[in-house]
């Protein structure tokens, strides 16, 4: 995997509080999912990656451009698509006008070509029918898709998405996965999410951040493998389990250290994440 993004000893502090790192990561072609609890440093990492936030230490390079220099940042921004966590849109603009406005700020100067590109990305996120509607009249999911549309403008080499699936209905999430996976065939996509099923379905790599540090870096299958032999089902609640919940089939699913003779089942990414996230230390019953 050739690295599109190279991160070395990257750190960020807010005042005296460390928020991230130091971390070393490389991102190449494909989708990398960032998982982690609130405050783990996911958004901080993505904001640094998007050149919105300066790191306190370390280096970051995108396609060889140094994010520490103004010319490097400009070069990175020309190859970047970004959906921030705090979704602000121009409420009085139509969806088309907003994406067009962003397209101008992405230096798409030729009007006809730009409008073609705006129509393309709006169609890609399935908003063609409402492109002339004011953004304030769109639903939360539609607004998310407007944000995604602007990020897709110009087919950027690096796509940074901070919790992009929040507010999307299941159908739209499937559509989102389709769009992202298509883009990731030739480009680098880094997204943060709390939804492990998105990671499972979409990402070929997952990085788990805990307290600003990389706690795991591997494939979703490897993350799920962290919980191998530690997930079981039973007919009643097991007090020895670290995490338990009742499934739709009326049985109880447990994660932790199984009792002898437990009915073990294959683990998921979520199970691996739960174990990794400090909630269920290996070899200890909570």
């Amino acid at each position: 995997m050739s690295a599109i993004v190279q991160i070395r000893s990257l750190s960020r502090t807010y005042g005296r509080s460390p928020a991230l790192g130091p971390v070393d990561l490389d991102f190449g072609v494909g989708v990398t999912g960032l998982l982690g609890p609130n405050g783990a440093g996911k958004t901080t990492l993505l904001r640094i990656l998007a050149t919105s936030l300066a790191p306190s230490g370390g280096d970051i390079r995108v396609l060889g451009h140094d994010a520490g220099t103004p010319s490097g940042r400009l070069a990175i921004r020309r190859q970047l698509g970004y959906v921030p966590q705090e979704l602000g849109l121009y409420e009085n603009f139509t969806a088309f006008d907003f994406v067009d406005y962003v397209a101008i700020l992405k230096e798409h100067v030729d009007r006809r070509a730009r409008h073609d590109e705006v129509r393309r990305v709006i169609a890609e996120v399935d908003l063609s029918d409402v492109r002339s509607k004011k953004i304030r009249k769109l639903s939360g999911g539609m607004r998310r898709r407007v944000a995604l549309a602007q990020a897709l403008l110009g087919e950027p080499t690096l796509l940074v998405l901070d919790e992009p699936t929040v507010g999307l209905d299941p159908e739209q999430r499937l559509r989102f996965r389709q769009i992202i996976s298509r883009h990731a065939e030739r480009r680098c996509v880094v997204l943060s999410t709390h939804m492990t099923e998105d990671v499972e379905a979409l990402c070929d790599r997952v990085v788990v951040l805990v307290q600003g540090r990389v706690a795991f870096d591997g494939t979703p299958l490897e993350l799920a493998g962290k919980a191998a032999g530690r997930v079981w089902v039973g007919d009643r609640l097991d007090p020895g389990a670290a995490v338990s919940w009742r499934t739709g089939e009326g049985r109880h699913r447990h994660v932790g250290d199984p009792p002898p003779g437990a009915e073990l089942i294959p683990p998921t990414v979520q199970d691996g994440y739960l174990l990794l996230n400090g909630g269920v230390p290996e070899g200890a019953s909570a």
């Binding site: 602000g88 700020l105 992405k106």
Partner: protein, 292 residues
């Protein structure tokens, strides 16, 4: 065409489509028509030298504040600040979009001129101008004063909004508007000093000898004695230099390279120079009682 021009074009279109601007223009049209029917000479003069643009200009100011603050108000700074066209270049675009206001202002003045059809002498004073004084038809510089004042004011607003990125920008603007609209306009430059030329709209009124009204001359009367039609040409140059300086000051908020500082020094020097030139060339009558 660069991204700055394209963005300025989009902002200009949004400005011209602002419904409030249409309302302001309708009110201005009513004012002009009412003046035409009443043949009010002083008001005719005021309308032609740019006062017909006060209301549309006010709407443009509010619109420009909102558009300059838009990314902040709508919480899109996080996204906008990582786009290749950064804040400094967006600032230039906001200032360039004032060109739409200039063109609209010029069209308004032209329409006002066509409707009011001023003769070489508009007429004698009918309010604060003595009836013995003819009010001349404004020359080209005076007719251009309103549109160019819009350019200067909108550029100033962009600079102010970049440095005070909140609604507090309204406060200094309200004071300036009050001074310009009330003291310098309706009462024909009550403050008689030539420094009134430092404000966007100069009336061109020249005050006559100061007549003392008491032993200490604390109360006085400054009768109007004529009109200065030379200084308006310098005033146009002054307004343009104010506009350029404002744009440079706005850009300095986010870009402080050597080139920007150079333009800041050059443009500021031109403002100061032209401000002084205006004082020097404008017609001034020394009060008799002030003479030794």
């Amino acid at each position: 065409m660069s991204a700055e021009y394209e963005l300025a074009r989009v902002e200009s279109v949004r400005l011209l489509r602002d419904p409030a601007l249409s309302v302001a223009l309708a009110a201005t049209a009513w004012w002009v028509m009412a003046t035409h029917r009443s043949s009010a000479h002083q008001t005719t003069y005021l309308l032609l030298i740019g006062y017909s643009l006060m209301l549309p200009g006010f709407v443009m100011v509010v619109h420009t504040i909102l558009s300059t603050l838009r990314s902040r108000i709508e919480h899109t700074d996080e996204l906008m600040n990582v786009l290749p066209v950064g804040r400094d270049r967006r600032t230039v675009s906001h200032a360039l979009s004032a060109a739409a206001g200039v063109m609209l202002g010029a069209a308004t003045i032209l329409a006002t001129y066509v409707i009011l059809r001023p003769a070489a002498s508009i007429g004698s004073g009918d309010n604060s101008i003595p009836p013995t004084i003819d009010i001349p038809r404004p020359n080209l510089a005076q007719l251009l004063q309103g549109p160019i004042a819009i350019l200067a004011v909108l550029a100033f607003v962009v600079a102010l909004t970049r440095w005070v990125p909140t609604w507090l920008v309204i406060l200094p603007l309200a004071v300036l508007l009050l001074v310009q609209g009330v003291f310098l306009g309706l009462w024909f430059a009550v403050p008689s000093g030539n420094a009134t030329w430092w404000f966007p709209l100069g009336t061109g009124v020249v005050h006559g000898e100061w007549i003392g009204c008491g032993e200490t001359d604390r109360v006085c009367d400054l009768p109007v004695s004529g009109f200065d039609q030379t200084t308006p040409w310098w005033h146009l140059a002054y307004l343009i230099s104010v506009a350029v300086t404002s744009v440079v000051i706005a850009v300095l908020r986010h870009r402080r390279d050597r080139s920007t500082w150079f333009w800041f020094v050059v443009s500021l020097a031109s403002v100061v120079t032209l401000a002084i030139v205006q004082l020097a060339v404008s017609v001034e009558y020394a009060p008799v009682s002030a003479l030794p």
